[in-house]
Every structure is written in C-alpha cells, then in structure tokens.
C-alpha cells in the first residue's frame, strides 16, 4: 500500500472546500534526548501537520576524537579504544585494526586463531542483530519481542563473558592472533547458544514479520533506492535491504570466511520491511557460520610470530571488514613507529545516517520513527 503525502499536502495548500486553510510549518526537535533515537542524536524536523517535510540529522554530541586519540597510543591500547565505537558489536571493531597491522607487518595468523576470530565475530553479530530486532519492535509499539530477543542474547553473552571477560567491550584481538585461548566448555556452550537461536528464530520472525499491523507500518515506508545507497556509501543490512548485493565476507573474504557456506540475504524494495527482514535472516546465517566454524575448529597456537614490540613498517593500507552494521574500514598510515601516524576509521553508521535526510523527505511523522528504527545505527559509530 503506497502511502504518499501528495493528497493531504495539496489539500492543505489549496485550502479544501471551505477556502483558505492556512497551515504553518513547525520545527520539531527530535532529540537529543528521545526514546526513539538510539542515543544522543538530534533530528531537526520541519513538520506540516503530520507530514515531515524534511529532516536534518545533527550529530557530534558524542564525538570523542578517536582519530586524534589513536595517534598517541600504540596498537594494543587502540584495540581497547576502538572497541567502544560500535558498542553493540564490540569485537568486530577490533578486527580491522588487527588485520591492517598484520598486513603491513606480513604476519601470518595461525588457523585456530582465524577460526576463533570468526566464531567470536559472528556471535557478536547475532548479539547486535537481536538488539536491533528488540528495539525496532519496541519503537513500533510491540513490546514483547524485546524480552524474547534479550533472552537469546543472554546465553551468548555468557559465552562471550567466559571467554573474554567482558559483555560489551572485549579487548580480545591482538595483531597476530588472540589474547588467550578459549576456556574449557566454550565449544559446547557456544554450540548450544547458537542452536537455540536457530531453533527459535522462525517464531520470532513470525511474531513481527508475519504481523499484519507490522507489515502495514513498514512496507513501502522509507524507501532507499540502490543508486542513492551507493552514492551515500550505505552498507550493511540497510544496503542489502535496498537490493545492493554487497557483503565483504563474500566479496573479499578475510579470515577464513571463504571456507564457510552462507547466504548473503538481500531484498529488492529498500523499505523498512526489507531492511528488517534482511536483519532477521542474517541472524540465522551467522548462527550457521558459527556452527560450521566450531565443527571445523583446528587445534594449535592462537598467536602468530609477533615481535615483542609491535611496530608496523612504513606504508599505507586500507582494510575493510563486515561489521554487523555495515562496512567498517581502517586506513592505516604508518611511519614505522609503535603508534599509527594516521588512522582513518570509516564507520558504517556515519554513511548510513547521512542518507537519512534523503529518505525522510516527505514522509509522515509516525513513519519517521519506523524509519529511524530501521536504520540500525549506533551513536558511537556515527560520532566516533
């Protein structure tokens, strides 16, 4: 059902049957404190009745100056710092840094470390996506999926905590491998956690995706076309929901992703429903990757041949990985020191949110919330 605002807007302008019906545009400030924006994010919206004429995101409320901070820290310190960008996918943030340093130093990472990295990253992807599953439902008024999603997250969080010591910020990857090996029982717990997710996922999908009211509120709402997605640099489930078939894990496999069999889900329409559908599907795919990785986990060392002091030789490299929210890239300029000379961090939510003003033009106010929710961003990622 295509909802356009043409009719009401024309009526408001031309004045209806009685003649002059003057309406004024109102500037509404959504945020920085607002339940629907995930964090301190402000949207300057110009509203005419129930129609949003245009909305401009204002960011920077959480800018911490990462790119300047990392110039004073060495690679181990940066690992902990960088994990706080997209805090819902903690361990995925540490990965491009480790990969970039390994590429410059030409270190070979042992297979066990590669497999474990894949397992941890994919489990974190499940955590991230379940979180957005919960929050999207809550924003539309469905309060129950939140609790179901969090129940699944809890089992996986326990595994992550037993392994790395943290539930949100892990600090586990090092250039060359991992900080330490996984504890006893990791394999069983992880397998049980993801198997539970695979088993319960169809129910969760039905709960929201199959619901009439949900479909009415998300189909044909907030359409982002593929060309705009490319032009803005949108990646991740949002881009794949617009028909852009891009996934770094499949296109340029890093770690050992080329050894696993998984589908890259994409949907053609680019509306909220498609984005959400891709998100839910990806949970299942990640769980399957974890299963395959655990079954193929080789024994061996978890750290390659890395000198005591990690110093990347002079050079520049751009490494990109598939963060749960999109493509996380790090352009590392090194001058041979322990610290990077310049580390440009290309975060997915930054580009994704810049496309918001394009998508939010001429929609309903209630749709604004659905669109904001479907744009899966994390403030730390935008504001770095």
């Amino acid at each position: 059902m295509a909802m356009t605002t043409e009719g009401p807007r024309r009526a408001a302008r031309e004045g209806g049957a009685q003649g002059r019906l003057q309406t004024e545009e109102m500037i509404l400030n959504v945020g920085p404190q607002h339940p629907a924006t995930h964090g301190v994010f402000r949207l300057l919206a110009t509203i005419d009745g129930e129609i949003l004429i245009n909305a401009e995101p204002v960011i920077g409320y959480m800018h911490r100056g990462y790119e300047k901070l990392v110039e004073q820290r060495d690679y181990r310190q940066i690992t902990n710092l960088v994990s706080r960008m997209d805090w819902l996918s903690g361990i995925n943030n540490e990965l491009p840094l480790a990969l970039a340093v390994e590429q410059l130093m030409e270190i070979e990472v042992p297979p066990r470390a590669q497999y474990l990295r894949v397992i941890l990253c994919e489990m974190n992807r499940i955590l991230n996506h379940l979180m957005f599953f919960a929050s999207f439902g809550a924003e539309l008024g469905a309060i129950t999926p939140t609790f179901y999603a969090f129940r699944e997250r809890e089992d996986i969080q326990r595994v992550m905590e037993a392994t790395t010591g943290g539930r949100m910020h892990f600090g586990f990857f090092r250039p060359g491998g991992l900080k330490e090996d996984v504890p006893r029982g990791f394999v069983d717990d992880a397998l049980q956690g993801v198997r539970q997710v695979i088993e319960r996922l169809p129910d969760y999908e039905d709960l929201l995706v199959g619901n009439e009211i949900f479909k009415q509120r998300t189909i044909d709402v907030g359409v982002l076309d593929k060309e705009a997605a490319y032009s803005y640099g949108v990646t991740g489930p949002i881009a794949r929901g617009s028909g852009a078939d891009m996934d770094v894990r499949r296109d340029e496999p890093y770690l050992v992703y080329d050894q696993f069999d998984f589908d890259v889900c994409s949907a053609p329409n680019g509306d909220c429903f498609d984005r959400f559908w891709v998100l839910v599907r990806e949970v299942g795919e990640s769980a399957r990757i974890v299963e395959q990785a655990i079954e193929g986990l080789p024994p061996g060392p978890i750290m390659g041949k890395v000198p005591r002091v990690v110093q990347a030789p002079a050079g520049e490299v751009y490494v990109r990985t598939e963060n749960p929210l999109g493509e996380l890239g790090m352009y590392l300029v090194s001058d041979g020191d322990r610290r990077p000379y310049r580390l440009k961090i290309r975060t997915p939510s930054y580009n994704n949110v810049s496309a918001l003003s394009h998508v939010l033009a001429n929609t309903y106010v209630s749709d604004m919330i659905a669109i904001l929710g479907s744009f899966f961003f994390v403030l730390g990622d935008i504001d770095r």
Binding site: M3, M26, L28, P35, A36, E50, G137, A138, E139, L140, G141, A142, I143, T144, T146, F147, Y148, R151, L208, N211, I213, F214, Q216, R217, Y364, V365, S366, D367, I369
Partner: protein
C-alpha cells in the same frame, strides 16, 4: 431482617461512598493485573516485592509515591486549564460506573436511559485530553492531543452502533432491562449479528481507551506520553493511570453487561442459577479485562492514518449494515 428506612440523603451518601471506593480499588486491581499479565506473556515475572506476596501492593505503592511528588506546572502553561484537565478526564469515567448493574438489585442508579447516559457521558473525557495537551505548551503534547481527539471521535461511532444493536434487540435503554433480555448472551444470539457487534464494541473500546494497538496518542517511543508529557505527580496519576485503568474496568463491565449477559449465567441452565449473579458479573468482567490486557503486548501500534481509515472505511460501514440486519431480525423473527 432489619427494618431500616433510610432518608434520601443517607442513601445518596452511601452511593457516593460506594462509587468513590469501587473506582479506585478497581483501578488499582486493574493496574496490578496489567503488570502481571503483561509480564507473564513476556516470559518474566512482573512485580514481586511490594506487599510481600507477589507484589500485590504495587499499584498502591505507586499511587502513594505519586502523591508525594512535587507538583510541577510548566511556566508557559495555562495554569487553570492545566490544573482542571485531569478532572475533566477522570470525572466522566467515574460517572460511568453509576449505571452498571452488578446484580439484579445491585446498581447505583437504574436509569431508564442508562445506555444513552453511558455513551454520552463517556465521550466527555475527550475534551479533557484536548485540554491537557493544549495547555501544556509543549509541541509533543499538542500532537498527542490532536491525535487523541481525532481517534476518540472516530471510534465513538462503532461503539455507539454496536450499543444501538443491543438496544434494538433488548427493546430498552435501561441496562437492567438489557441484561434481563439476554437469555443467551447477545454475543452468541442472534447468531452472527451479535458476535460481530461484540467484536465491533471490543475494538472500539480498545481504541477509546487509547490502548495498544490504538495508542498513537500516547505512543511512548515517539511523543513520550502524548498529552500528558508535562504532567507529574498526582495530576499524572489521575489523568493517565487512573483514567486508563478505570476506563478499562468500566468498559469491561459494560461489555459484560451488553454482550455477555451481565449478572445472568452464561447459558440458561437451572443449576447455574445457584451461583450468585455477582460472581457471574465479575467473572465476565475479568474475562473482558484479560482480553484487553492480552492484546497489549501482542501487537505493534497502528499508524494514525491507518487507524482512521480502519474506523471510517471499515468499522462504521459494518456497524451500519449490522443495524439494518438487527432491524430485520427484530421485525421478522
């Protein structure tokens, strides 16, 4: 037993006292039920500590807490209207309770135009919502008030049409007569018509109470609490919590009376008549309340324009057709 004759003024005082006890207690129990039912549907326990046993005193504790809060009125708000709005919302709801019969002889006031009174007075709280939103001097509150006005006006009609069906079938507007006319509850007989009228009424009631899935006016994640955003303390409890819970219990009672047979047993068997009418009434009311509570955690929110479409383009035509059908039934059957 006792031979007591009470003067009119004494009877009046007793009636007022009963109402002023029943309504808050009903609201408190309804609120507690909401906490617990919603919690169990969401795979969690809900309040467990206040009062000791499964947190029965939660809503009571909430009420006391709100009583002790500071009374804040925004500087830019219209003081008189702002202060009066909660009363404008709450009083009509209290007045609905006057006509609901708990048993054949247990009703505060058996008005001849009971049904009409109910619908008319019940719709007065719309003005209270508008007053609350407008006087708050807050854009979000204004949006909420406008949405609620549009929604409540739209969903009055399905309720009225369904009630009209009942009135036609019973041949009277007095609620006691309506209950007496139901050998089988109207939801089951006349077949088809009664059930559709029951559904129409239930959907309209959920919308009138601005509950999910029709809670756009108070959509928490969008406009915080809609018209009540600037309210705090006692005013908030009266206009938001009390009103909603009181409304829910009232509508539960009304639906039970109009469609489920009120204080009569569900099917006219002799054995069932040994159970006092009060039990039947409360059982049916609780069933209705459970229905309202069950719907809340299950569905997302319907968007404002879809909500309006649903009412004007679907529910009201169905209601009109229903009236025709009922007219035919009454004449020819």
């Amino acid at each position: 037993m006792f031979d007591i004759t009470l003067a009119t003024w004494q009877i009046l005082v007793i009636k007022v006292l009963v109402i002023l006890t029943v309504v808050p207690v009903g609201a408190l129990v309804g609120g507690y039920a909401e906490h617990k039912v919603m919690a169990h549907l969401q795979h969690r326990l809900g309040p467990m500590y206040p009062g000791g046993w499964h947190g029965w005193a939660t809503t009571l504790a909430d009420g006391i807490k709100f009583l002790l809060k500071e009374d804040i009125i925004p500087a830019a708000a219209d003081r008189k209207v702002f202060s009066f709005a909660p009363a404008a919302i709450m009083v009509p709801i209290i007045m609905i309770y006057l006509v609901i019969p708990i048993d054949r002889n247990l009703v505060i006031e058996d008005l001849d135009v009971g049904l009409f009174y109910l619908l008319a007075i019940g719709s007065l709280s719309t003005i209270g919502l508008l007053m609350a939103g407008w006087s708050s001097a807050n854009k979000y509150a204004l949006i909420g008030a406008l949405r609620s006005a549009a929604q409540l006006i739209a969903y009055e009609l399905p309720i009225v049409l369904a009630a009209a069906v009942v009135a036609m079938l019973a041949g009277s507007l007095s609620l006691i007569d309506i209950v007496e006319a139901q050998n089988f509850p109207f939801a089951l007989w006349p077949p088809g018509i009664g059930f559709v009228a029951f559904l129409l009424f239930t959907v309209g009631a959920v919308a009138e109470m601005t509950r999910v899935p029709f809670d756009m006016p108070v959509a928490e994640s969008e406009i915080i609490t809609g018209p009540f955003t600037e309210y705090s303390g006692m005013r908030y409890i009266f206009s938001h919590m009390f009103a909603e819970m009181g409304h829910m219990v009232a509508f539960g009672g009304i639906a039970a009376t109009l469609f489920l047979g009120g204080y009569k047993p569900i099917i006219p068997l002799r054995i069932l008549e040994y159970i006092p009418g009060v039990f039947w009434f409360f059982g049916k009311t609780m069933f209705m309340i459970f229905l309202f509570l069950w719907i809340r955690p299950t569905f997302p929110r319907v968007r404002e324009d879809q909500l309006q479409k649903f009412a004007w383009k679907f529910l009201i035509p169905v209601g009109l057709v229903l009236i025709l059908a009922t007219g035919a039934w009454v004449l020819y059957v």
